[in-house]
Amino acid sequence: MSDFDAEVIVIGSGPAGVSAALPLVEAGRRVLMIDAASDTEALGGPWQRKLGAHLESLTPDDGLSPKLRTPEARRTIGAFKRQGQDKEEDFVTTGSLARGGLSRIWGAFVSEFDDDDMSGWPLTAAELKPSYRAVVERIGVSGSSDDHMADFYGRCGPLLPPPPLDPTAASILGHYAGRKPEAGFALGLARNALLTIAREQRQACELAFGCLWGCEQGAIYDARQDIARLRRHMESFALRDRTTAVRLTRTAKGWEVATASGERSLRAPRLVIAAGTLGSLRLIAPLLDPLPPLRLLNSPVMAMPLLVLRRLGSEPPAQGYALAQLGFRLICSQARGDYVTGGLYAVSGLPPSSFAARLPFGRRAATDIFRALAPALTVATVYFPGHYSANQVTIRQSGAGPRIHIRGGVTDQFPQIADSVRQRLKKIWRRLGAHALPGAALATAGTDAHLGGLFPMGAPQPYGTSRFGELNAAPGLHLVDGSVLPSVPAKFTTLTIMANADRIGRHLAGAA
């Protein structure tokens, strides 16, 4: 592989990396992808999937969300945490050095950005449309194209039929259909990158509630599936496993990537960085010395547990999935992009122990009470626009690499906005037959990723990037992950990151 003469080196095998690489290799460009990990091991039997083959997930509750405590989450984000020298304050660093990146544990919720979401971007929603279509077709998205949320989520690409709805979610949706919805509120089926019809190597969802521990059927999209697709282009695509990029150097002929293994550096005229927002920051920071404090955007997120009284005493569903069942949107103000959005999740696919630990009862009672209530419970997540976040990143260069200090925070007006949104939503849920339980909580910034804004496209500063993600201070180096999003709306960002990477990939395929 060492004689592979790459035109473009792509760093990272996550959704952004594969999305940028695909148009390049399809156009016949020679792409070398380097990945810190390799193809990983099988998921193992039932208890190994939940507790870990070495029981690494059998640990006392540390307050982390159940999603991040699974063995699959540890495999996905553990190495990234260990690699960095980041200091975090009111912030949880989430990144990945695993094959497929964070897409291994993502919520699979997809939505397109519209022009309001993209205000301040150096491109329009129409320019992203062909890429949205390509990505949606490639990853397989199920949902509805004729409910109140269909326009909000976008209409690029064909949709697969939605999976059967959890009875509790169905009950809420039934109430919504029968009533005049409150102004500014809309509810509909969630739109997930979940296959309901098998295709290629992937099977349709078997409704076995296994989502949280890694989908065994490959029904949920993750970037490893596109690695398989890339590998079919044998003459134009090469992948280097277990190769961690540690230093980027500009040369007369392009770029040189030094790797952790200390082997010969890799060279190519162009570099595409897709290491994930915080991973890219680690790589780019040494190139931008001195770097002023940067603003890191994230969507603040709140979870609201809801109880649907008329479902009390029902049998829990025998089948289902743990991704979002329904999606909603609530407009906060007339300002552009000032809305919240989120999903409703069935609790049947979640581990009762993490809920029982928070109930004010003894363990035995808490477990029984939670499990008896579970068929009537649902959890709503509420994402706020990134302009309410006020995270600050400062970087100190050191011999052993950049030391990154992230301080999480929100704007002054956010607590009030969050409270008013919670009150409004409480009323809305009640009208839909779902009662908000105490215990609504805001997650620590960074827990849920949804990051962006570090190297914004269109910003004139040295750390800004062109409309094709090319770093102003480093020609030939393109960033294609979340770090280049000029804004982070309340919507789920992954699909847009992929579409943007695809757009940049297409541009490079024509230009390289």
């Binding site: 939940k50 507790l51 997930s57 059998l58 630990a357 363990r363 009672a365 029984d368």
Partner: protein
């Protein structure tokens, strides 16, 4: 060619383990001793008949890399005292001299941290006197090495470890010398240290201390033994040495009462710590935490399994028939530093009682809250899955919670 080690005291607590460790390292071991005693412990061993005080056949020693002298004749201490006729004193010198004549490059003598001229017990005085003789014999050379071994624990329950383990199984123990400092070291660490001395000794160290580098009081050690093995507190009743010696005398006079050896009592009363950190570092030994290492014994393991079965039964609300699930829970519970307290035995027998000692505010630093959380996580992986509770369960559980609350306020310390 595999290095050959000649060993005395092969049937003892340290000797028998040393053989196994030496063979693991690829050494050939020749045991000097009575054939019956050596043969039963290590079948792959070649044994040469010999008694302490006799001159061994020189052919048994020729070609050996080292002689490891661990044997001690307690009978001679009793009969001959510390006089020049003591078999240990004479025998060790004869053995060392013969080894020298046979061209064995090293002679390692197992001494004790109580080896001092004014030691209370004869053992300490004789070991000291023997060290002196060996030193004189060596002249200025490095071929004779003395290892002063501390309080050895771990492995099969034999020797002094067995005695102390037995004592620690009592809830209340009258004991002498509980403020004296001891230096516990694991049996395997002693064996590894001795083997390093025999095979590849550090330069310019003729006497090394093989003992824990952090001395702790004898009372604290006994409590640690009981805490680790039985998960319970040990109450110690300090006892003056004079009274203990009187009891010894009495025990030897009164028929049908087992005789308590005066020598043992004096051995417990008369220890003083020696600095060992530099020696351990020179030998490349990093000692394990004794509190952790002690939990790897049969009573501790049995207790752990019983506790985990109870926790899992309580968390699952039904009997758990999966040994795998219990073992998985035990693997984690055992290594969690927060779990130093055993569950009260009634809750192990009737797990439903755990409801009455759970902490009121479930905090993950509380030992029982942590254990129950882990048990609940394991319970979620059971096959078939747990039965769905009916809605009426909520009423029953809330009523039971109300009943249990006053007890929990009072008793939650029991499972901390």
């Amino acid at each position: 060619m595999a290095p050959r080690l000649v060993l005395t005291g092969a049937s003892g607590y340290i000797g028998s383990r040393l053989i196994a460790r030496a063979q693991q390292r690829g050494c050939e071991v020749v045991a000097l001793g009575s054939a019956g005693a050596t043969g039963e412990f290590a079948p792959a061993l070649s044994a040469v008949p010999w008694r302490l005080g006799e001159t061994p056949t020189i052919t048994a020693l020729v070609g050996a890399t080292a002689v490891l002298h661990l044997a001690h004749d307690w009978g001679s201490d009793r009969r001959d005292g510390t006089g020049p006729g003591n078999a240990n004193l004479v025998g060790t010198e004869v053995l060392a001299r013969t080894a020298r004549e046979a061209g064995v490059p090293r002679f390692v003598f197992a001494s004790t941290t109580s080896a001092r001229p004014q030691a209370l017990n004869a053992y300490g005085r004789i070991k000291h006197a023997t060290e002196e003789r060996l030193r004189a014999l060596a002249g200025g050379e490095d071929h004779i090495l003395c290892a002063r071994v501390g309080l050895v624990y771990g492995g099969p329950e034999r020797g002094q470890y067995r005695l102390l383990a037995r004592l620690a199984s009592l809830p209340l123990l009258p004991m002498i010398g509980i403020d004296r400092e001891v230096q516990p070291i694991h049996l395997d660490e002693v064996c590894d240290g001795l083997l390093t001395l025999a095979l590849d000794p550090p330069a310019a160290r003729r006497t090394v201390v093989l003992a824990g580098s952090h001395p702790l009081s004898f009372g604290a050690w006994l409590r640690m033994l009981r805490r680790s093995r039985h998960g319970r507190h040990l109450a110690l009743l300090p006892m003056p040495t004079g009274l203990a010696l009187a009891a010894c005398r009495l025990s030897s006079v009164i028929p049908f009462v087992p005789t308590i050896e005066r020598e043992r009592v004096l051995g417990l009363a008369g220890t003083a710590p020696m600095d060992s950190a530099a020696d351990l570092a020179a030998l490349g030994l990093v000692l394990r935490d004794p509190a952790r290492a002690l939990t790897n014994c049969r009573p501790a393991r049995r207790r752990l399994i019983a506790e985990c079965a109870a926790l899992l039964r309580y968390a699952a609300g039904a009997p758990v028939r999966s040994p795998g699930a219990i073992i998985r829970l035990a693997r984690i519970v055992r290594h969690d530093p927060a779990f130093r307290h055993a569950l009260p035995w009634p809750t192990v027998r009737w797990p439903a009682l755990l409801r009455f000692i759970e902490p009121v505010r479930p905090a993950m630093h509380h030992g029982l809250a942590r254990r129950l959380h882990l048990a609940a996580m394991v319970a979620e992986t059971l096959e078939p899955p747990l039965r769905q509770p009916r809605l009426g369960t909520i009423v029953a559980q809330v009523a039971l919670e109300a009943l249990a609350l006053p007890f929990r306020l009072l008793l939650s310390g029991l499972g901390a």
